[in-house]
């Protein structure tokens, strides 16, 4: 029982409970204080993760290695950015309550548990903790019809996916007799152990997790939830849970079922291709920028899944680098979307961006950087994300995926540069309200990361390499 391994999660949970008590007992409005405490909690948890105490805890239920640390740091970054962005926005929308950061925090704890799950049971616990908080967050603007609709939709569909996942887990347990990921790996080294029932179980697990990363054909909820949820929650949805679910997917497939690559590889390839194609084509007709970003994230998950379908450590490395770059450029883009407010109300149409290049050159420049990056144009980080992924695909001989990938990226470029077109080439519309300072900091920080990633790719790449080395051994 090595419980110190779970110190980051335990500390973060305790901080969460403390903040909750503080928020309830304090008479005045405590949103600001609670948000600050939450961010402080994320920082402490991050530092604890960085101490790199690795090993197995709780009889193998819980695992800490380079892979979990990598993903946890990324999850904490995404969560912290979303929390910072939420502060001013919630105040402006009149939904500022201290429960908001607390829910973010508990959801993050769930995701951290997902990243270091050592057995299918831990995996499910983490996932449910994450999801429960997310249901509430999606409906946080409870007087807003769209927000409630988004929450309900997410609740029902996510519940279904969890059910499928659980069913898959029970099948796997039934046919193999263990839920421990490492034990499953050892068991499946002998080909005879892979019974059809087990494979069906794997497929169900895959489906459940594909829902969480919003890969096609389990993506239906994404555009509606992205559009309906309060925008800071959308930032959160688009970053941290995606990382956590992708980490799970990689961990489960890469550790336990690594020897069954042949059985699930084709499924992942199909899902990946479908996501890339749908993400590229369905986004073209969108007029709401949040919906556009929803389809964009579906497409990006398709690219990230290429790494998994390669089915080796090089592929995982590609996926992990992709997720890092994706989180920062997406968070930055949503930062810009949060800045789209006129006369105290948020606007979400792409046409509202018209003439931003004249009205607010700094914001327009940042959004242009993010768009070029999302499109994968060089010098921006998005290009390198695609480069590493395609490198892995070609090394693995998956030419179909690589070719479809580059072609859909051209289609994707069409709608990304359309946003730049609206900002720079169209006649100026009304100005936006002044930006809150924290938002400017987030956008500037993520923008600098996106622009100058090409100068220093080495730290991220070597960290991803170390993390990927844990899987597919």
């Amino acid at each position: 029982m090595n419980w110190t391994l779970a110190l980051p999660e335990i500390v973060l949970s305790v901080i969460g409970l403390a903040i909750l008590i503080f928020g309830v007992l304090r008479k005045q409005d405590s949103t600001l204080a609670c948000t600050m405490f939450t961010i402080g909690g994320f920082l402490i948890a991050g530092l604890l993760v960085l101490t790199r105490t690795y090993g197995y805890g709780f009889h193998g239920q819980f695992v800490k290695d380079a892979f979990s640390s990598f993903n946890q740091i990324l999850i904490l970054s995404g969560a912290a950015i979303a929390t910072i962005l939420a502060l001013d926005w919630n105040k402006q929308e009149g939904i500022a309550r201290f429960e908001f950061p607390v829910l973010m925090l508990f959801s993050t704890v769930g995701m951290m548990i997902m990243a270091s799950a050592g057995s299918l049971m831990t995996l499910y616990l983490g996932l449910e903790l994450q999801s429960l908080a997310l249901y509430v967050l999606a409906g946080f603007a409870r007087d807003n019809l769209r927000s409630s609709e988004a929450a309900l939709k997410y609740f029902v569909l996510s519940g279904l996916a969890s059910g499928l996942l659980l069913y898959g887990i029970s099948l796997i347990y039934g046919f193999s007799g263990t839920m421990d990921l490492a034990a499953l790996h050892d068991l499946l080294v002998q080909p005879s152990a892979a019974s059809p029932g087990l494979v069906v179980g794997i497929v169900f697990v895959l489906v459940g997790l594909a829902f969480k990363v919003s890969a096609v054909p389990f993506h239906m909820w994404t555009p509606d939830v992205y559009e309906g949820a309060p925008t800071p929650v959308t930032v959160f949805f688009a970053t941290a849970p995606k990382v956590a679910a992708m980490a799970l997917l990689l961990r489960v497939m890469g550790t336990s079922f690594a020897s069954l690559v042949g059985a699930w590889q084709v499924l992942v390839i199909i899902v990946s291709i479908a996501s890339m194609v749908l993400g590229a084509f369905a986004a073209i007709g969108q007029t709401n920028i949040k919906r556009l970003m929803a389809y964009s994230s579906i497409g990006h998950m398709g690219y990230a899944l290429i790494g998994l379908s390669v089915g080796n450590a090089a592929g995982v490395r590609g996926t992990l680098i992709y997720m890092v770059i994706y989180v920062f450029m997406t968070a930055g883009t949503f930062g810009c979307i949060l800045a789209m407010r006129r006369k105290g109300r948020s606007v979400e149409q792409i046409s509202d961006l018209a003439g931003l290049g004249t009205n607010d050159p700094a914001l327009a420049l940042a959004l242009a950087v993010f768009m070029f990056s999302l499109a994968g144009i060089p010098l921006m980080s998005g290009f390198f994300a695609k480069l590493y992924i395609f490198l892995a695909a070609v090394q693995g001989g998956l030419w179909t995926l690589a070719i479809i990938g580059v072609l859909t990226s051209v289609v994707g470029a069409f709608y990304y540069i359309r946003i730049i077109k609206v900002m720079y080439f169209d006649a100026p519309a009304e100005r936006f309200d002044p930006r809150p300072v924290p938002l400017s900091f987030v956008v500037a920080g993520t923008g600098l990361f996106t622009t100058f990633f090409f100068l220093f790719p080495a730290p991220v790449v070597s960290a991803a390499q170390a993390a990927a080395a844990v899987l597919f051994r």
Binding site: G357, T358, P361, F372, I377, P378, L379, F383, L387, F390, L391, V394, Q395, A402, I403, V406, L407, S409, V410, A413, F414, I417, R418, I420, K421, Y424, F425, F454, P457, A458, V461, S462, Q465
Partner: protein
């Protein structure tokens, strides 16, 4: 560790590449004051930056060792150690003159846009400096990943230049330009990765020595072809060019014709021919056919144009057809001719766009029918126009002649009909250029607003002077330019012949 094997003793190529970007950052952050002051300061800052870069690049011109066929002024810094990708810069005989062409045309463009660009001057100057960084970087890169970064990076500033400061259909032209070229480039990215996986390195010098199997070469060639053919542009994927040229502001057209069109041909020379000798030979007839169609068809199309810029744009496609013929003859005359034609077209076509820009700034139309009889009012202009028109036609004594002549000699060694049909370009070129000149300069002034038109201003003379000097210099004493690439081209042809012989020998053993 930074490794410098370099006559200059300092990382001169990196300086030339990144200095414009520094200039752009300074313009972005340092300028304060009202709009008018910022605009003026931005112009001057951009001009001085680009002139400084030009002076630096002249060091290359002076200290380049013409006898060395390999890369010079090398720089190498570890960049992505896990992937064996380095930040590697270097120039050889093929690229050094293009670096100079880019650094020369940038200040000229900035000068030509001095008064023509009135809105968002600061952003315009920044875009141009960033564009210069990308262009120079692309010609200097000796690592494939680095090359690709610059190659595609060019799209961003050019997209903005066309889209923000362009004509009425600028949005359509900008998006078309962007998507066409991007669609081509991404296939090259796959070819890049395939070669990377195969050879284990992205160092261009090493890749040139790596033998890829003929089967793989075929696919790699097609991927490269998709990218470079769009950039050249070759018929039938040239349709983005007339749109981009017509809608781009004058300075944009100048840099597009002067440097961006050379990127495709440079790519063929840098990658396709030396790295894929078998596939290049296999596909040469295909390239010849497309090139001949380009030469004849686009020349005829040019003849029918009503818009001056469109006419010159189509003539560019025809001239670049000659270049691609030259490259795929695989002999010294053909390749040297192609290189010379690229340089001379870089100067002459750019100048012609500037010539159009002069009257466009005054009358604000490019419709040929709106002009006529300008010779009376603008004698200096008529002289300049005639010089460049003649150079474009290929009059002996001007830059245009040498390139076409060498390519025709080179192609005669391959096939008589190829030389004949390729040479048709000169005749048709004379037809559409003389016809254009007659309609604009000769005759009587029939439009009232032309009566008050002013001749070239001092600034415009300053812009044209270096171009006139170069056009004549290249035409009268071409050796001072060919001597730069003679050694490299010689080595390249030798390498090509040797590689083909090796494959044939191998095939002989197999059979």
């Amino acid at each position: 560790m930074p490794a410098l094997t370099n006559i200059a003793g300092f990382p001169i190529l990196s300086l030339i590449t990144w200095l414009p970007l520094v200039g752009a950052l300074i313009i972005a952050t340092m300028l304060r004051g009202d709009e008018e002051t910022v605009a003026t300061n931005a112009r001057w800052a951009a001009l001085w930056t680009s002139l400084l870069v030009l002076v630096l690049s002249l060091v290359l011109w002076v200290s380049f060792d013409q006898a060395d066929p390999g890369f010079q002024f090398n720089e190498s810094v570890i960049w992505m150690p896990e992937f064996k990708v380095g930040y590697k810069m270097g120039v050889d005989g093929i690229s050094v003159l293009f670096v100079l062409l880019s650094t020369l045309l940038t200040p000229i463009c900035i000068l030509s846009a001095w008064d023509a660009i009135k809105v968002k001057v600061r952003e315009f100057m920044m875009s141009f400096l960033i564009l210069e960084t990308m262009m120079v970087g692309m010609f200097c890169a000796t690592d494939f990943v680095l090359f690709y970064m610059f190659f595609e990076g060019v799209l961003i500033p050019m997209y903005l230049i066309i889209g923000i400061w362009g004509g009425p259909r600028r949005v359509y032209a900008a998006v078309k330009f962007f998507l066409y070229t991007l669609a081509g480039s991404v296939l090259m990215l796959l070819a890049l990765i395939a070669m990377w996986v195969q050879a284990g390195t992205t160092d261009i010098a090493t890749l040139m020595q790596t033998a890829f199997s003929p089967h793989m070469q075929t696919w790699l060639f097609l991927a490269f072809f998709a990218s470079f053919a769009v950039k050249v542009p070759m018929w039938p994927v040239h349709t983005w060019l007339p749109d981009a040229h017509v809608e781009a502001p004058t300075a944009g057209s100048v840099i597009l014709a002067g440097v961006l069109l050379k990127m495709g041909a440079y790519g063929f020379l840098r990658f396709s021919v030396p790295m894929l000798p078998d596939a290049s030979t296999y596909f040469a007839p295909f390239i010849f056919s497309l090139s001949v169609v380009a030469v004849i068809y686009t020349s005829l199309v040019a003849l029918a144009q009503e818009d001056m810029k469109k006419l010159i744009a189509y003539s560019s496609v025809a001239h670049m057809g000659v270049v691609t013929i030259g490259i795929f003859t695989f002999n010294v005359q053909g390749i040297s001719g192609a290189l010379f034609q690229m340089l001379s077209h870089g100067i002459v076509a750019s100048s012609l766009f500037l010539v159009v820009g002069v009257v466009y700034d005054r009358i604000h139309t490019r419709e040929i029918a709106r002009y006529g009889g300008l010779g009376d009012r603008m004698p200096g202009y008529a002289l300049v126009f005639m010089l460049f028109m003649m150079a474009s036609v290929g009059l002996p004594g001007t830059a245009g002649f040498i390139g076409e002549f060498l390519v025709i000699i080179g192609s005669l060694q391959v096939n008589f009909w190829l030389a004949l049909l390729g040479g048709m370009g000169m005749i048709l070129g004379a037809a559409y250029m003389l016809y254009l000149y007659r309609r604009i300069i000769f005759g009587r002034i029939t439009h009232a607003d032309l009566r008050g038109i002013l001749d070239l201003s001092t600034r415009e003379w300053v812009v044209f002077a270096p171009l006139i000097a170069l056009t004549l210099w290249m035409g009268i004493y071409p050796s001072s330019f060919t001597s730069y690439f003679d050694a490299t081209v010689g080595a390249m042809v030798q390498h090509h012949t040797a590689a083909l012989a090796a494959t044939t020998k191998l095939a002989g053993i197999v059979h």
